[in-house]
């Protein structure tokens, strides 16, 4: 996979993951043009298109478009399954995920994606394992202060660290 873009029906970018090195300007250009192209497609059309020299696979889930650019040797149908798996993971994590969840927790969406794909390929095919890893990492975020101080031999009664407030509502 070369990149994955998530955008709304108005063309607002919600997530962008690039697996190929491109300049910021190029990324912006590709994003702008591709978003336009995909949004212009009618609902009954097929999920695949050739754009520039890449194969594009896209699927709409509610108000969000999930759009991937894959290499010529890649299997388009399985890419649809990869997109679906990612949506399932988000759904499980957020509980009935909607676009707002991804807007307000974009960093989490990235973390989940990074546990599922690495360098453009799937690293874990078990839904359970991906979610478990995210869960553990989240816990780690809350507790690291505690663990670090534990190693240093210092016990603190109150373990709520300041940084964890970032991710609380």
């Amino acid at each position: 996979m070369q990149f994955m873009l998530l955008f709304s029906r108005q063309g607002k970018l919600r997530l962008q993951k690039w697996y190929v090195p491109l300049s910021d300007k190029e990324k912006k250009k590709i994003t702008r043009e591709l978003v336009q192209t995909v949004l212009a497609r009618k609902p009954k059309m097929c999920s695949f298109l050739e754009w520039r020299d890449m194969k594009i696979v896209y699927k709409r889930y509610a108000s969000l478009y999930f759009c991937c650019a894959i290499e010529n040797q890649d299997n388009e149908l399985i890419t649809l399954e990869i997109i679906h798996r990612y949506v399932e993971l988000l759904d499980k994590y957020f509980g009935s995920v909607c676009e707002l969840d991804i807007i307000f927790n974009f960093e989490k969406a990235y973390f989940i994606l990074d546990e599922f794909l690495l360098g453009g390929e799937a690293q874990e095919t078990s839904k359970k394992n991906v979610l478990k890893a995210i869960e553990q990492a989240d816990l780690l975020q809350e507790n690291i202060d505690f663990q670090m101080r534990l190693f240093a031999g210092v016990m603190l009664p109150n373990m709520v660290s300041e940084s964890s407030g970032l991710f609380q509502n």
């Binding site: 149908l77 399954e81 973390f111 394992n129």
Partner: protein, 821 residues
Amino acid sequence: MPAPIRLRELIRTIRTARTQAEEREMIQKECAAIRSSFREEDNTYRCRNVAKLLYMHMLGYPAHFGQLECLKLIASQKFTDKRIGYLGAMLLLDERQDVHLLMTNCIKNDLNHSTQYVQGLALCTLGCMGSSEMCRDLAGEVEKLLKTSNSYLRKKAALCAVHVIRKVPELMEMFLPATKNLLSEKNHGVLHTSVVLLTEMCERSPDMLSHFRKNEKLVPQLVRILKNLIMSGYSPEHDVSGISDPFLQVRILRLLRILGKSDDDSSEAMNDILAQVATNTETSKNVGNAILYETVLTIMDIKSESGLRVLAINILGRFLLNNDKNIRYVALTSLLKTVQTDHNAVQRHRSTIVDCLKDLDVSIKRRAMELSFALVNGNNIRGMMKELLYFLDSCDPEFKADCASGVFLAAEKYAPSKRWHIDTIMRVLTTAGSYVRDDSVPNLIQLITNSVEMHAYTVQRLYKALLDDISQQPLVQVASWCIGEYGDLLVSGQCEEEEPIQVTEDEVLDVLEGLLVSNLSTPVTRGYSLTAIMKLSTRFSGVNRIKKVVSIYGSSIDVELQQRAVEYNALFKKYDHMRPALLERMPIMEKTATNGPTEIVQTNGETEPSVVEPKHLPPVTQPANQANDLLDLLGGNDVVPVIQTTMPTKPASAGGELLDLLGDLSLSGGPATAPASSVPTSQPSFLLDGLSSQPLFNDIAAAAIPPMTAYNKNGLKIDFTFERANPNPNVAVITIHASNSTEADMTEFVFQAAVPKTFQLQLLSPSSNVVPALNQGTVTQVIRVLNPQKLRMRIKLTYTLKGSPVQDLAEVNNFPAQSWQ
């Protein structure tokens, strides 16, 4: 300083902005706050600030001032910091910035961290955006992690290794030992990523590929794993709609494809499992079809037995009938790949494919069109063409050009009859006339010229088309050319193929003049129609009208038209006796390669038996931008009076007149304008050299032909040197060397030559037209002569010496005997 606002708070605030300007204001304010916070080197809130910056970056605002802060976060001990820091690095940094190299050390430390999630972060970042330098530095760490027993890390290390190999292919070797027992893992994540790694290695290196085939016995291992996946019962962890780990299955099939390609043993070893997958996979959901798709691709690529291939094509056939358009699309794509090798099998599905032309989806239509063209053959040409022409009528503009080209190609290859061919072309021109490629106009003209018996029919149909619609330029151009050539047939009502129409000369001229004045006509089209009108002066009886039109355009603003009109006028006034000869019918044109007019030897009319009248000089009427090579040679800028390239000598008077013609008429280009493209690139240095008479075509026979002096008078000496052209030993290449022994330069030097009818002559451009005084240099020019017999030549020289023009004629008879043997 108050605590910076939280991420969520910021997001909420920004979303309340009602206009772009309002949003920009908020962002700028927040950026300023963040910047001052960064300056204070505040560790506590750095994470929060960078996260906010990332959000603003996603909205499209610049965030580069956060790059170094990301690095500080990565270096921090807090996991939260690291998480955001690495995310920031992946979003804001890339290998084009030097800053990213500073990450290398941090990543190295984190790869050895005690917490696997930190190691995971490092592996992920390296695997996504590591540059070649970083990869080189850290490959060793990745390799170590590839051997760990921790499957969480092992799978990430495998994909990281894939990235390293992509960036620095030389490092592939170092990962080889670690791959030894990757496939004996139970963990699906590790299995999947290992297969990806092995695929990458096999794709990149044929050595690796054969190593894995033979030494590692990869194929049996993969077959075993695949079998287990299919046969094993329900596994909730990896199940997708009843299929066990489709991602892994697809990957394995892909690796099998690479291993089995061009290898009999491997292909045989996987035959059974492929058949099993092909027949047992559930096809009701997309997942199953994804696996079948991959299986079909594999079957087609390896050396599978024919039964298996038929199975694969049938699967594709079923896909074509599937309701899901994605599946249909994928089927068409695969069929396109296999149509060359399994043509007959694909032909069986032809009708389904043709039906797909009517699909609403653009991608499917395009695929169906490509596939349809691939399936056209001599047997189905009529039926297929009907469908394709119907498609051409109704398709989107983006398809028309490709479809038109495809139709032309197919028609050329498989046309059942000339009439059908011309009808088909006419249909394309009338429906998609503005989309046909530029070179189709000369190709068409050539086709029409060569179908001698269809001339009357063709010109009639084209005329009728013109009456309907003059907006499609290629159609109009071909039509005007034809009317110019065959207008007499049109007016005389000689058509056999269909009901002849009654057309008067005036009506025809009306139409052509209409083209000249119409807004819809491009300059090129106008050129075509003016020339056509001129040609009709020899075919029609009413010349006065034509004379009038031509003289009007003599003052046209369009330079091209003006030039033509002026020359045609000159033809009327001074050279009326030349007109019939110049404007005669075109001979049959040879289809030539698209490069190298130098390979063309001018054909004189009488050597072509199929042409009706004997020809003397083929008229040059092609406009400047035509790709037709024959006519290109005759004049890039469309000089009507023929350039001196063919000068068959007629009985003395006519011959003399010809040479007179060339002398008196101010050719808008002299020989110097014979297209530069006709000089082969190796020539210029030789010509300008003028030093050695040794030819570039090193033919031993050439050395045997001695040079000779053709002319030596009044200080001007012309020597001829000979060689035989390598490709065609019957062509003698004569190079003239003109030298000047007088005190003054001879300027505007023009060399012209004429040969008897039985020869064919071609004159290339001279090195220059100034012969320097006192033998300081020579002007060279190349003549190519097709000469089966004793050569005779008449030459004419013109130059200006000391301000006064000089002209001379001479006969050259003293060619050495070897030059024609």
